[in-house]
């Protein structure tokens, strides 16, 4: 049986990592449990240096050390538990796709410290949206994603320990041809790789590989191999070559003009050979364009959510470590944590006056429970109450909104109600959880007048910003026919009104507010569809259907 090339790549990457763990920082293996994944883990155990397993839920104390309470009490002096990070070595993290932003940041800091740590991420993500945090992946040199054939490989071989040690000794003496940097940087540009870590890591990988092959200088073949190991997973565009894959993807943006021009320059190194580019392009994941789309979408969402999306309350949700504070109506005491924080002080606090008390607790010991609560979503219903929409379907739309309100109530979402008509928008209901109020406002919603769509969107945008500041994640539900005829300023002109509306809509999309547009016109119109496209929102033409159906489709669009 011929050995699949990906298996060899994994072996080479591991060997390079064994030679220069501190410089290459680690690798990502993206594969669910499979023979090759097991073989990989076996190979890891034979890597030089200490190798430890960690998991995405690892606590700071385990990782960075902390006070050992029981030992401190027994010995009467603070005893620190050393954290795993105190000795340099290799960390292997299973289920790496579940790594949270906080742990990723801590691990990144650890890697940046250059203390000889390396990290292996065993990424078991099923879909493209499940992946370890990008910031962490960016720091690790290699990324291998075995395909079907490779998944069945049962053994991965590492070079003998003595060879690795000898290669490590040679590492400092490997010389690099002057045009190598130009080649690597030029290649990175062709694949749209922005981060400067990529060429640096490729350079180091090339050195390690050359040392492994008992060479004294980095050859072009080694450079190419290093680029093949480091670049494919970071590519953000497929370079224009004559490869057949390219033709199937006409929307691929061409590589930036200047990159090719500059690479041609006298000292910029050679223009990366088309053959080299194709060799790497062949290694790009087949679904790269889909992935890029998803990456961009999650990026926008992450940027939009930020600190606000995860709101830390202390009412419900996933428990978080408790922290000191004063109990109040909203905060509940965590008895165990409180006792634990009081424990080390018992001997010190004991005086003849309080000797009869079994435990002496001071206010400063009190720890409060905290929970992470993600469901503080704010649905901003922005309803077009203008004459054009009112006549047609406002009543129907009201029914749909009521059903959505009921659903929002079940999820304990907040809702706000904005209506726009005549010459401006009006906030009928500021963010609230009260379903009754929302319903009452809605049923008395007046209709008629012009359609100041832009003003409505501006109001929604302001509300969304405000909600973010208070830690809520806003979602826009816009009910309109899209026939804007009142601009933000000046004369009522349809063109200006539509232009204004589209500009504001694009602004909302940049803010990353997700949304749904329900087209309330009699016949689905191009205008509303345009606005939805600008908003980046799901477009739902209101069919001749009952409110139940609308609500169902809106819900799917919102959850999706």
């Amino acid at each position: 049986m011929t050995r699949p090339p990906a298996a060899t790549r994994i072996e080479r990457a591991l060997a390079a990592l064994a030679i220069d763990p501190a410089g290459l920082k680690g690798m990502v293996l993206r594969s669910r449990i499979s023979p090759v994944r097991l073989a990989f883990e076996t190979a890891l155990q034979h890597m030089p240096g200490t190798s430890r397993r960690i998991h995405p839920q690892i606590s700071d104390t385990q990782l960075f050390g902390g006070l050992n309470i029981s030992a401190s009490l027994a010995e009467g002096r603070p005893v620190r538990d050393p954290g795993l990070s105190e000795t340099p070595g290799l960390f292997a993290m299973a289920m790496a796709e579940r790594t949270g932003a906080e742990l990723a940041a801590r691990l990144s800091q650890l890697l940046d410290r250059d203390a000889g740590h390396a990290l292996i991420l065993l990424d078991e993500g099923a879909g493209p949206e499940e992946a370890p945090p990008a910031g962490l992946q960016d720091r690790l040199a290699f990324h291998v994603e075995p395909e079907d054939e490779t998944l069945r490989v049962t053994a991965l071989r590492l070079p003998a320990r003595a060879d690795l040690d000898a290669a490590r000794k040679r590492l400092g003496k490997i010389s690099v041809p002057p045009d190598a940097l130009g080649l690597l940087v030029g290649l990175a540009a062709r694949f749209g790789i922005d981060s400067l870590r990529a060429p640096l890591l490729a350079m180091r990988a090339a050195r390690a590989l050359a040392a492994l092959d008992r060479e004294t200088a980095v050859s072009e073949a080694t450079l190419l191999e290093a680029a093949e190991l480091v670049y494919p997973s970071r590519a953000t565009l497929v370079p224009e070559t004559e490869s057949p894959r390219d033709e199937a993807q006409p929307e691929t943006p061409p590589p930036p003009e200047d990159s090719t021009e500059n690479a041609d320059g006298p000292s910029g190194g050679d223009l990366p050979d088309e053959i080299v580019v194709q060799a790497i392009a062949a290694l790009l994941p087949t679904d790269i364009l889909d992935r890029l789309k998803i990456a961009r979408a999650t990026q926008a969402r992450a940027a939009s959510s930020g600190a606000g999306a995860k709101r830390r309350g202390n009412r419900r949700g996933r428990p978080l470590p408790s922290r000191p504070g004063r109990p109040s109506q909203e905060a509940r005491i965590d008895p165990v944590a409180t006792l634990r924080s009081a424990a080390p002080w018992q001997r010190l606090r004991r005086t003849p006056q309080n000797a009869h008390r079994p435990v002496i607790i001071y206010p400063s010991d009190i720890r409060l429970r905290r929970y992470e609560d993600r469901s503080d979503r704010l649905l901003i219903f922005t309803v077009d109450a203008s004459g054009s929409a009112a006549v047609a379907r406002l009543a129907e739309a009201k029914g749909a909104v009521e059903l959505m309100l009921a659903r929002a109530y079940a999820r304990r979402d907040h809702v706000a109600l904005l209506a726009f008509r005549g010459d401006g928008a009006e906030l009928l209901l500021p963010p609230t959880r009260s379903l009754v109020q929302a319903k009452r406002q809605l049923s008395s919603l007046p209709g008629g007048g012009g359609t100041p769509l832009a003003a409505g969107l501006v109001a929604a945008s302001e509300l969304a910003q405000h909600a973010r500041g208070r830690g809520m994640s806003p979602t826009l539900v816009l009910l309109t026919d899209g026939r804007a005829n009142v601009p933000l300023k000046g004369e009522a002109s349809r063109t200006a009104a539509v232009n204004d509306a589209e500009t504001v809509a694009a602004g909302l999309a940049r803010q990353g507010v997700p949304g749904v547009l329900v087209d309330t016109s009699n016949r689905p119109a191009e205008t509303a569809r345009n606005i939805a496209a600008r908003l980046g929102a799901t477009y739902l033409p209101l069919p001749r259907a009952d409110a139940q159906k609308i609500s169902a489709s809106v819900s799917t669009a919102l959850e999706g």
């Binding site: 960075f64 401190s72 009467g76 002096r77 603070p78 932003a101 906080e102 940041a105 801590r106 990144s108 800091q109 250059d114 203390a115 990008a134 910031g135 960016d138 400092g172 940097l181 130009g182 940087v185 990175a188 922005d194 981060s195 400067l196 870590r197 990529a198 060429p199 350079m203 050195r207 200047d258 500059n262 320059g265 000292s267 910029g268 990026q299 992450a302 940027a303 959510s305 930020g306 600190a307 606000g308 830390r312 922290r323 000191p324 080390p344 002080w345 001997r347 010190l348 945008s461 302001e462 910003q465 500041g469 933000l488 204004d500 500009t503 504001v504 694009a506 602004g507 940049r510 803010q511």
Partner: protein
Amino acid sequence: MTLAFPFSAIVGQDTMKQALILTAIDPGLGGVLVFGDRGTGKSTAVRALAALLPPIKVVEGCPVNAARLDDCPDWAEIRSKKIVNRPTPVVDLPLGVTEDRVTGALDIERALTQGEKSFEPGLLARANRGYLYIDEVNLLEDHIVDLLLDVAQSGVNAVEREGLSIRHPARFVLVGSGNPEEGELRPQLLDRFGLSVEVTSPTDIEQRIEVIRRRDAFETDTDRFMAKWKRQDGKVRKAILKARERLRDTESSDAILKDCAALSLALGTDGLRGELTLLRAARALAAYEGAPAITRDHLRKIAPLALAHRLRRDPLDEAGSVTRVTRMVADILG
């Protein structure tokens, strides 16, 4: 501690370097926020600045780096009168840090073994007269951020806990860095930073090659590389020291004050903090460049740094906030 990359060897990123130098000249500017993509050298620059800054004179053993014995807090029980040179402190604030470690707390060891109440200073004490660096500031726990901003503004750290009542000076420059993809900062937090810089990776191939070349030389041939850049770093250090001396004598005319106000008004920045920072930073820049007074040219250079992060978002404007500031500066200053 590993060796820091030389500050002057950082390719490009001039705005970021300039902002950092300005805080070194006038620590009262209120800190720098560096936001940018991955792998653009944010952390490198801050750590490099540490190595570049001139040493400070401190009383030997003083936990808050006081310059004179009188300034040492009583609880530190300093007896030595010796003044020693120390590199400017740059304290890293790790994520997941506890309040105790930031503000300082009762010294557990002495409490347990000797039954004595004594204060164990935290990171804020160590950062006094230096820099406090928070990487991934957008991921830091809210209550720690609030605490830090509070202390950074008042310059005093007050600890009231475990029966202790301690106050000590904590004047430091807060440097935060982060990646906007991993979460935005609350606007309340944003405008507490004096200057803000957005960094992107260089798009010019030559420049990118140079970045890699220098980094590679630094990693593989450290000694020679450091020796090569030592003089450059020395020049920047001297320029900073000179600028500090000149700072007081650098004049600001009424016309310049009017310009500052007009800019802030036109951009609709909240509060007076923007104006004040703009003026102070422009003065630091003028001092750095050796100019006798602030000119409109200085304002032009500083305005994006001092004002861009204080703007309200405009749903009608597609341009980034830096572009908006630049546009407005061109309108008003001509």
